[in-house]
Amino acid sequence: MTTKTASLYDWVDERLGLSELAAFARHKTVPVHAQSFWYYWGGISLFLFLVQCFTGVLLLVYYRPGAEAYESVRQITFVMHFGWLIRSAHAWTANLFIFAILVHMFSVFFMKAYRKPREFGWLSGMALLGIASVFGFSGYLLPMDELSYFATKVGLEIPAAIPWIGPAIANMLRGGPEVGEFTVQRFFALHVVVLPALFLPLLGFHLWLVQRHGNAAPPSVEALPPAERKSIPFMPNFLRKDLAMWLISLNVLALLASVFPWTLGHQADSLVPAPAGIHPEWYFMSPFEMLKLLGNVLPGESGEIAGILLFTLGIGLWVFIPFFDIKKESGQRGRAAHYFGLLAVFALLATTVIGYWTIR
């Protein structure tokens, strides 16, 4: 550094405390073990979120909510140069984003990284996943083509099934009794203003907690004496690998978005019957199929209510797992939670497969 840049650095450092940050970054380490690969998935999710912000703003340049929604998406896809690519990238990233979050969540679950002192990390992560799925649901309607119309119609039947207050909630979300231009307008407000305003501070909190507690090692590694635990410095070793993963994600995304461009269906029309083989996106397939299977056993309203109760129970157990599966003094692994996790993975995969198998 020349003296000029050194004195500029000192000037800024005195006011912002850069050297404290630099010292913190120098001391940060990441554990190395057989499961280290899973550490990248939080970073991949973060990268995909940034891609969503970026491509989302680009779509915002031409998108018009309300009555003109379909026409504006048609214009983006077929008239504006590379508009198809940007829309395709946004849609593909949405799917990859949910996928990366799910991988991240299950790896955290099986590494038992939600245990003390990381309970808030788990809880904020679950909230972020919840918001991400509302992002997905609200964004899906915005093009207002046939598929998005029916997906929203069907999706809003789930809150509508809640006893007593359900219909009022569904009407509030829908902006009236039917999915239409008012629905697009309020889903748009939700998608680009309300959800980001909730997501960003929560994401900041989530990332701050990771800095505070560091990466959790799985119980098998934690059981080792300190001398046998391996780690690498975050700066630059892990960061370099992290960025390499981002680059790989970008390449995968670029390939998917350009080779399999996202399609745009016909304009939504409530008088045209739902197209054959219509089905939910893969990340909603499992709950959809579970409700369908339950409906076969318990037909009618009792099935709907039982389904909502069962979901609430399952999700509640999952979200509050840090308080059930606490660290044992004896260093035991907590098998019940482990089997619960395996059961959840099995149920999700099985119902998803059945769902796709039975598309008519």
Binding site: L58, V61, V79, M80, H81, F82, G83, L85, I86
Partner: protein
């Protein structure tokens, strides 16, 4: 990294004493430089591959407007019925323009964009002038000449041809 990737002339180590001072293995230095150069080039390629579609995407309306400004002639249907002492505002390509039917029966067509800061100007028949409300610029309604106020240049005149089908306005 292997030291097989060596650019330039092979260096005879036995005769080069300077290089030994810089690094033990000159091949390593060249390899490192080669690696950095290719990483930089790849980075540039990535940036270009991302920036180009985004630029074209954002520039789309500009390109559409360009094809619209390529217009050299506009036919205004039924404009021949325009009463004396009145004006018809229309778009020549993408830019506002005006067709004035003067009280003496003369037809004049001009751009309607003030040459000062781009506001749309107004024809005032009672004052017999073209006025810009933004900063008080005044133009001659027959020639487009800038008469007073801040406008630096006159308004451009178009050629006008009147027939039974309408009024044809074209670039002079």
């Amino acid at each position: 990294m292997s030291d097989q990737i060596v650019l330039g002339e092979p260096i005879d180590l036995s005769q080069s004493t300077h290089l030994k001072l810089i690094a033990e293995d000159p091949g390593e230095v060249t390899t490192r430089r080669f690696f950095l150069a290719s990483a930089g080039a790849a980075g540039l390629l990535y940036t270009a591959a991302l920036a180009y579609p985004i630029y074209r995407y954002l520039a789309s309306p500009e390109e559409m407007a360009l094809s619209a400004t390529a217009v050299t002639e506009v036919t205004l249907k039924d404009a021949e019925k325009l009463p004396l002492g009145s004006v018809l505002m229309f778009k020549f390509g993408t830019a506002p323009a005006m067709l004035i039917h003067h009280a003496d029966g003369r037809w004049v067509s001009l751009t309607a964009v003030c040459t000062h800061l781009g506001c749309t100007v107004q024809y005032e028949p009672q004052a017999d002038r073209i006025h810009c409300a933004c900063h008080g610029g005044v133009y001659n309604p027959y020639t487009g000449a800038n008469v007073s106020g801040p406008p630096p240049k006159p308004l451009k005149l178009f050629k006008v041809a009147v027939n039974e089908a309408g009024v044809e306005v074209s670039r002079a």
